[in-house]
Amino acid sequence: MAAVRDETATARTIVIDVPGWPGHLAGQHVDVRLTAEDGYSAERSYSIASAPPDGQARSQTVELTVQRLPDGEVSPYLTQTLQVGYPLELRGPIGGWFVWDPDGPAAAAPVLLVAGGSGVVPLMAMIRERAAVGSHTPFRLIYSVRDPTALLYGDELVRRERAGDGLEVRYVYTRTAPAGSGQPTGRINAALIASAGWPPEESPAMFACGPTGFVEAAADLLVRGGQNPGAIKTERFGPTGGKA
């Protein structure tokens, strides 16, 4: 591990220097394996948060943002114990379905990203990749989060949205909205998906990531809103052992 950044009270970004890293696509994940001295090992999948390397000096680093789970086997180690310089066993990059490829055939289609909690991580890689390659593909992000203290990449999202180059972000707070905002709390619903997403005629590419229940709800709302089910890509993680 090369560096660490705290994102929230319970989430941390770890920057890993991977010699020979072959590069990745935005949306892919890695499997992280921890092995105890007695040989017991546990493996978890974590989405890559960073944009693919651009061949410059940072080309061998991969960033993961890990949400600490109270009863987790792996995430407490990664977020609390792991120190800069410690080795980690990684496998990846993994996955070719839940990816946004700026050089792919659908790269010009407008994109809707729907994030539930730490499901924003692989979607952030897509936002960063869009910026890194200078893409003008319009992106909209619907980001559902418990309360403002749980927001990942809050400052960066504000900065990127203010750049005014086609990224729009809609926040949904399920328990507590920012003080003084007057914004109601609630869950994603049909009206929100319609107003903060794209009309079906625009033929958007859609990516939803979050806990299983959230992703099912998001995909269902999109289909009922007239979107093409074949253009909706989903990635779910469970309460244990999942991507986070």
Binding site: I94, G95, W97, T212, G213, K233, T234, E235, G242
Partner: protein
């Protein structure tokens, strides 16, 4: 019931068995005939090994177990596995 995940998580272990990404490969269900990308299947990781079920009919599509020195891939519920190959 939302104690399942999805086939994106099978990519690591299947990637050891296949020479290409398999999460975007399509499987056709023996039970109901529906076709889904592996990434879209419902995966129950708490069995010994991982069990992928059909999102349409819930039938078992495949089971995957990775041991220290071998892997078992049981494709009992899949009539056809379709992989995109590099074009000519």
């Amino acid at each position: 019931m939302s104690d399942y995940m999805d086939g994106n998580m099978l990519g690591g272990t299947l990637g050891e068995l296949f020479s290409m990404d398999v999460t975007s490969a399509t499987v056709t269900c023996v039970s109901c005939g529906a076709s889904w990308a592996i990434a879209q299947t419902r995966v129950y990781p708490h069995a010994p090994g991982m069990v992928a079920r059909c999102p349409t009919c819930d039938a078992v599509l495949l089971r995957l177990v990775r041991g220290p020195d071998r892997a078992w891939l049981d494709l009992r519920g899949v009539t056809c596995l379709q992989l995109a190959m590099p074009g000519a």
